[in-house]
């Protein structure tokens, strides 16, 4: 891994150029009608889901904390952004940032006490938190309660979701390839050893949670201004479970895999629509099959690696003896 400034700038330049190229291609396809409004909406949903999945990825795959309540932060971001825009007429971009910040604040406040729980206990607690947020919103008449909040201006465009996604990729990539990211990964690998090496694990867990919450909040804001109408049950823990599925299928700590699995899984229900009601049977069936095949595949990979290690180990020994 290179850490030099010039290499880093070059890398950034190529990434941005590639992103702009992808954006231009899609914009052309949209403006010429090759991608109609329906597919454009799916495309935008994919971008929003990628932001959500990457932020979940930071918490689950990089920091190793199983959260089943990430959609709560999406809800907070969506409602905060929509409400402030409707009440004060704050400009769109500031509303988005506001939504992200409020979500991030909640992430911090929730993360602090709950992140000392481990594994399944953390999972159920975050899931419970998600449910509490949904019920809380249902009881706030100023936010529309259970009936939902209509009349949000439809300001989210393809450019907004696309570049917010690029921004998310960049920021989270920079985070995970810095000391902060290393600290998060060390928490995932072995909390006790990490603490013994001077890593304040609580601090980095909360940092991952807060950052994740911020981007989920940002995605929530984009979603609100895309949908123009939001209601609480959209954000219940089933949405969180979807996110967990995206990142688990994407592979451990892997940006590209996460993006690919999110795109495919967001599009899959649309592709399966031709099957009618049966699609909701096919989807979980595919999920189970993929999980099983994935494990088989990992086993094969491990075997290959083991053979490789055997060779490498021998070389290593001879070297050590020399």
């Amino acid at each position: 891994m290179s850490v030099s400034l010039t290499a880093s700038l070059k890398k950034l330049g190529i990434f941005l150029a590639a992103s702009v190229a992808v954006f231009v291609v899609f914009t052309l396809l949209i403006s010429t009608g090759v991608i109609n409004a329906y597919y454009k909406r799916i495309l935008m949903t994919i971008c929003i889901n990628i932001i959500l999945a990457l932020s979940t990825n930071l918490i689950i795959n990089f920091t190793g904390q199983l959260t089943l309540g990430h959609s709560a932060f999406m809800a907070i971001g969506a409602y905060a952004a929509a409400a402030i825009s409707l009440k004060t007429g704050l400009p769109f971009v500031l509303s988005l940032i506001f939504g992200g910040l409020v979500a991030g604040l909640f992430g911090f406040l929730i993360g602090l006490p709950t992140l000392r729980l481990k594994g399944d206990y953390l999972a159920i607690t975050t899931m419970g938190f998600c449910q509490i947020i949904v019920v809380a919103i249902q009881n706030i008449p100023q936010l529309g309660g259970a009936q939902g909040l209509p009349g949000i201006p439809g300001k989210t465009t393809f450019a907004w979701v696309f570049f917010c996604m690029i921004l998310t990729i960049l920021v989270l990539h920079n985070v995970v390839s810095s000391k902060q990211g290393r600290a998060m990964i060390s928490v995932r690998e072995d909390e006790i050893a990490a603490e013994a090496m001077g890593v304040n694990t609580t601090r980095y867990k909360v940092m991952a949670f807060t950052l994740g919450a911020f981007f989920a909040g940002l995605a929530g804001g984009l979603y609100a201004f895309l949908m123009m109408f939001i209601e609480p049950t959209t954000f219940n823990y089933f949405k969180s479970i979807d996110l967990v599925i995206y990142v688990v299928l994407g592979g451990a700590g892997n940006f590209a895999g996460c993006i690919a699995s999110t795109s495919i899984l967001t599009f899959l229900p649309e592709a399966l629509r031709a099957f009618g009601d049966l699609r909701l049977v096919i989807y979980p069936l595919l999920l189970i099959i993929i999980m099983i095949l994935r494990v088989k595949n990992i086993r094969v990979m491990r075997l290959v690696k083991m053979i490789g290690r055997h060779k490498g180990g021998k070389e290593g020994d001879s070297h050590a003896a020399a």
Binding site: V3, N174, R182, S186, E195, M197, G198
Partner: protein, 257 residues
């Protein structure tokens, strides 16, 4: 002023007193050994020293400051580092990244610098890269820097763990059975390594070890624990001659030695 001053620390788990009235004083550049039969409470002493457990009573000062009740990562910042009895490397990370973990607390740049890639990020990261590689070179692990830690042979994993602990820049290094599972030749190399570490890094070392040959040859002083209590302390020769130790623990092994 001694580097480490432990006075009468005890710890109880429920009704069981795991360690009672443990006292130990170490100066700069000392190598001490902590021995005793299995379950005598040696690792528990390490765990109290590194903040994993908080002693029920007693005082511990390091470099003139109390370290009782500090979190493990804060104790590391006070310059005490350790290895683990059952190797605790970050198995899925590369050898290099394992060492870099130890530099996290020493790097000063914040999240903003990381996200915006400000100059401080590059300076410090470059510095860490350099230091880590140097350390790996010293431990003959530099050509394996990109290997996954889990794929290293056992002896190299032990070496990497020591390298990782040293990367935290300690003044006191706690080694928990570093020779466990090593063959005689590797143990011999380890003996050299420990002496060399003290000399090069100018630090003190406290060693838990079952391999008496290693303990007797490197340690200047030895403390013997049995059932959580100190039953003897002294130089290797004194310990070898102590009938209590022979009775409690050394027995037949002493006969072989």
């Amino acid at each position: 002023m001694p580097l480490l001053d432990i006075q009468n620390i005890s710890i109880r788990f429920g009704g069981l007193t795991a360690v009672a009235d443990f006292s130990l004083t170490m100066g700069d550049h000392d190598i001490y050994g902590l021995i005793g039969p299995n379950g005598a409470g040696k690792t528990t002493v390490f765990n109290m020293l590194t903040g994993v457990y908080t002693p029920t009573s007693g005082t511990m000062t390091f470099d003139g400051e109390s370290i009782v009740g500090l979190k493990p990562y804060n104790i590391t910042k006070k310059k005490i580092a350790r290895t683990f009895q059952n190797i605790r490397l970050m198995k899925n990370l590369s050898v290099l990244d394992n060492v870099k973990i130890s530099f996290i607390y020493q790097e000063k740049y914040g999240l903003t610098s990381a996200i915006l890639r400000l100059p401080s990020f590059f300076h410090e990261e470059e510095d860490v890269q350099k230091k880590s590689l140097e350390l790996l070179k010293v431990f003959h692990l530099d050509d394996k820097k990109d290997e996954m830690a889990a794929n290293l042979p056992y002896g190299e994993q032990r070496r990497l763990e020591i390298a990782r602990a040293l990367a935290t820049q300690p003044k006191l290094l706690l080694l928990d059975e570093p020779a466990a599972g090593m063959n005689p030749q590797e143990t011999q190399e380890l003996t050299e390594l420990i002496r060399w570490i003290r000399k090069t890094f100018k630090i003190s070392i406290l060693l838990i070890e079952h391999d008496m040959r290693l303990v007797m040859s490197v340690c200047e002083k030895i403390v013997v624990l049995d059932y959580g209590k100190i039953i003897a302390r002294g130089t290797p020769d004194e310990i070898k001659a102590n009938p209590k130790v022979i009775e409690a623990y050394l027995g037949e092994e002493a006969a072989h030695a």
